[in-house]
Amino acid sequence: MKILDRLKMLSEGVVIAFDSIRVNKVRAALTILGIAVGVFVVTGMSATVQGINSGVSASLAAAGPTTFFVTRWPAAINSCNGSADSCPWRHNEPLSLDDAHVILRQPGIQSVIVHVGSSAQVKYRGNNLPSARVDAYTADWTEVNGGDMAAGRNFTQGENTDASAVVVINVALRKQLFPDLENAQAIGKEIMIGANPFRVIGIWDQTGSLFDDADEPKATVPFEAAYRKLRFGIRWLDLTVKPRDGVPQDVAMDQAIAALRVRRQLKPAQDNTFFVSTPEKVMELYNDIVGKFFSFMIGLSAIGLMVGGVGVIAIMMISVTERTREIGVRKALGATRGTILWQFLVEAATLTMIGAVAGLVVGGALTYVIRANTSIKASIPPLAIVVALAAAALTGILFGLFPAYRAARLDPVEALRYE
C-alpha cells in the first residue's frame, strides 16, 4: 500500500478508536488517565516555568543591561547549618553605607542604590496592616525597579539625606489604606509606619515579578528615614550598582571590586569578603534550579506515560482478541499484515492522543488559574503542546506495537473461525 492510502485509512482508524473507546469506557478512561496525567504535569509545569521565566527576565531587564549587584552573601543555593564550612560568608563584614559611597566614587559608576527590606505596621485611621512590607531605598531606586509612578513623585536625594518622613506606596497598599480614594487623592495623606507619621508623596504602579509581587502591599521610604526613624537594621544591605552609560559592565565591576578591596584592606591572596553578581549570573543560578525541577517533572510525566502505555497494551490486547473475527474478515478481503498493523497503531495512537488532549485541557485550565490568581504569567509554550502530543502518539505507537503485531500475524483461517 502506498503512503497516501495509509493516510486515507487514518480516518478509519481514528473512527474505530473512538468506537472502541465508546464501547469500553472505563477501560479506555483508565488508559487515557495515565497519559493525561503525564501530559498535564508537563504542560502545567512548563507553563508555570515559562511564566516564572518571563517574570525573572522582566525584572532583571528592568534593572538595566549593565547593572550588577553587590551583596554580603553569594548568589548560590547553599544550606547554611551554622558551621563555618557550610557558609563562610557569614563571617563577611556586612556592607555599609560607606561601602556604597566608595563604589559610587568610582569613575565608571553612575549610581548605587542601597536597599534593605523589612516589615512594619502601617496604618491610616481605621485601616491597619500589622505587618506590611517596607523597603528602604536610596533615591534612585526607580531606575532599577520595573514600574511607573501612577501619581505624585519619588523622594529626592535631598529628602533621603534629610531622612524626610515621606513614603511612596504601591497601588496595592493604596487600595488597602485608602479604599475609597483615587491614586491622586491619596497624595499628601499622612500614614503611620510603626509609631512615625509619614506623608504619602507618590503612588508606585509596579510591574509584578516573581521576586516582587505587585499585589503585595508595599511602602518604600528613604533609606535614611528607615535607618534613623524606623530603626531598620542595616546588616543586610544589598547594593544595586548602575554603571555610567557606555561603561562596560566588567570594567565597572572591576572598579567596584578594587574599591571595596582597598577599603577593606584585603591582601592580594585573600578572597573578596563580599560578592558581586550580574543579572546573568542570577539567571544562570535560577535556570539551574528550574532545570533540576524540570527534569524531575519530566521523570514524573514519563512515569505517567509508562502507566498509560501499559494500559494501552492491555486495552489493545483486549481489543485485538475481541475483534479477532473482524481481523479475519479484513484479511480475507485483502488486508495485508502492514494494513492491519497500521490500523491498530492508529487506534493506539488515537487513544493516547485523546489522553494528551485531555491532559492539555486540564493543564491549560491550571495555567489559567495560575495566571488569574498569582503574579506568575503562566502560559503553555507552543512547543510543549507539540511535544506532549508527539510524546503521547509515540507512547501509543510504542506500546501498541505488540498488540498490533499480534493482530497483524493472525492466521485468517483461525481468525475467521474464532467465536
Partner: protein
Amino acid sequence: MTADVRDIPLSTTGELQAVVGNVGAVPGQDWVIVTRGITRDYDMGGEVVRALRGVDLAVRRNEYVAIMGPSGSGKSTLMNLVGCLDTPTSGENWLNGSLGSDMKDDALARVRNREIGFVFQTFNLLPRATALHNVELPLVYAGVGSAERKKRAVEALERVQLKDRMDHRPNELSGGQRQRVAIARALVKQPAILLADEPTGNLDSATSEEIMRVFEELAAAGQTVIMVTHESEIAAHARRVVVLRDGRISSDERREHFVKRLEK
C-alpha cells in the same frame, strides 16, 4: 508460470472429463482453479489430522460448482486453500494463473483481494460500519480512491437490490439482507471467483431460496461461483457438484446426475 493441462491429474470419475475436459487449456486462462494433489495436515496437539489427502480439482471460468460433503470431509479446508486463505502441506493450487501454494502472507492477501469474493455463513460484516462501508472495504485495501469506491459500492449494492439500505448498519438489516450485503461486498471488485462457504447456513428456507436465486442470476451472468455446503438441496442449485469424503473427492458430476443419484 504455466502448466499444460495434460499435467493436471483430473478426478477419477469420467464425469469430470465431460465437464472440464478441455485439452490444451492452462491455469490462468480458461482454468480459474487448478489444484494438483493438494494435502493439508493439521497438528492437533501432537496428533496429525490429515484433512485433505490429495485433491485434484479444476474449475473453468463461468462454472457454478458446489463442493459438498459431511462435516470432517475436508470441504472447508479445501475452500480455504482454493480461496488462498491457507497454503497446502503439499501439492499445488493455482488461482487464476497465480500459484497460491508458493505464496507468503501478504502476497496471498493481495491475490484474495484481486481474485476472490468471499461470502460466509455468518455474513461477517463489520458490525459498526454501514452496508456501504462494508461493501467498500475490499476497494479500500485495493487502494481505490474514495469517490470511485463509493460509486462502485453503490453499483454492487444495486445488483443485490439493497441500494436503499446502504446507510444501515448490519444490525438494522434482516439475515437475507445481510447476506446480500456480503454478496455485494464479494462482487464489488469483480473477482474471478465468488467463493461462498455455507451461504445459507444461518438463513431460513425462504431466505435461502432468495439467496440461491441471487447466485443463479450471477452464474447466469457469467460469474464463476464456488459454493461449499453440506446440504444436498442447496448443492443441487449448482451446475456441477463435487462431493468430498475423508479428504478425497468421491464424486464429481453434473447436477442432473447428482440429482438423479439423490432421488434413488
